[in-house]
Subunit: 206 residues, 2 copies
DNA sequence: TAGATTGTTAATCGATTAACAATC
DNA sequence: TAGATTGTTAATCGATTAACAATC
């Protein structure tokens, strides 16, 4: 399949999690307007997204939930999942670890890294914490394709370079360092301060 | 001034932080292409954003950094700043607290809330942690207009309702609960799992 | 003046929504 | 059949980028 729009991919992730929460009960089918209401989207948007991933429903019963979940899972994480590394085990790193280990996904954090000796070789949410010097080695051994950067901003660029050199194809950057790796690596940056300042600006206008 | 586009506001926040980092040295002026390069944007985009906020520069020297910082600050947080409350002092809450207290902004977290007795009446990054029962009272007393929600997802809706009832006009929601408050409240949601799944999808295509 | 830069409009690109035919 | 729903195209909206005149 060709590349899906970014926004559609984001919504697929949300549909999927919402459906996982609602399945297993007596409910096997769902209408586009029901799924839309759960997430405050519009029914048209839901149908369009499902169209883009080649899902079809029946006018009588709606969409088969189990089928949706399966298809979305394959599209998002690939059939067999992907392995993820977390670099930087501070407050934010630990929060992310807990957050991700609870959920239902084929994505899995399989290694953590830090440079603080107190943290190394301890377990954290079922995952061992290595010294950052071993990054390259562990990444290759564990076949890790995605990295999450939670180190202090000054160290982010260096960590990102090592990740890319070790074959990582996607990076989620939580620092304020602005990275850039052309087309070889998909980069997603999240900046809390920017989010909060955006809220500040628009909240004044209400 | 009329409402700025969301994306422009996001970039203003980033320009501003970058400029704060680069000012105070010998450099008093900056060209659009220099600012663009620092953030991996394009010079045209920088100039257009500055145009939208009514900033002008000179062809010889570029833009006056001090002036940009001042103007952006007034636009983003308003002249006298805004007060922020943080609800839920887990790992994520603590990470956000540290993160925000370091930075240069008129936004300030002035109160934290939790329901865990061990955390109540302790200080955290210079801010007292109250019991969530006191939410409404403290918010009004401290003139808080923005709330950050970091509680477990099941409690998010109830917390959000209290915030809105206490006069909050902007919410930054870090839980997976999907909130909705029409036009009265500006709502920004951040969903880590969606971000990571987006990275997973696009990293496969590289 | 020539070259670099700003400021702005028009064109393009991407995402959402309106409209509606087809189907159960 | 009538009513509700799906599936899809065309129109609209918003954001970015190309093009270029004006200025130092």
């Amino acid at each position: 399949m060709n590349l899906l729009p970014e926004k559609t991919v984001e919504r697929l992730s949300q549909y999927r999690r919402m459906l996982l929460k609602h399945y297993c009960k007596e409910k096997q089918f769902i209408f586009s307007h029901e799924l839309a209401a759960l997430l405050h989207f519009t029914p048209v948007q839901v149908r369009r997204d499902l169209m883009l991933i080649g899902c079809s429903g029946s006018q009588r019963k709606g969409y088969d939930i189990k089928n949706l979940i399966k298809l979305m899972g394959e599209i998002i994480d690939s059939k067999y999942g992907q392995n993820v590394a977390l670099i930087g085990v501070g407050n934010l790193g630990r929060a992310i670890m807990r957050y991700l280990n609870k959920k239902n996904s084929n994505l899995k954090i399989v290694a953590a890294f830090d440079i603080n000796p107190d943290k190394i070789n301890k377990e954290l949410g079922g995952v061992n914490c290595h010294h950052s010097d071993e990054l390259s080695e562990v990444l290759k051994k564990e076949n890790i394709t995605i990295g999450i950067i939670c180190v202090p901003a000054e160290q982010a660029l260096q960590v990102a370079d090592s990740l890319v050199k070790s074959g990582v194809k996607g990076i989620l950057n939580f620092t304020t360092a602005t990275l850039n790796f052309g087309d070889d690596v998909f980069l997603e940056e999240y900046d809390m301060i920017t989010s909060l300042e955006k809220v500040a600006y628009f909240s004044k206008k209400r």
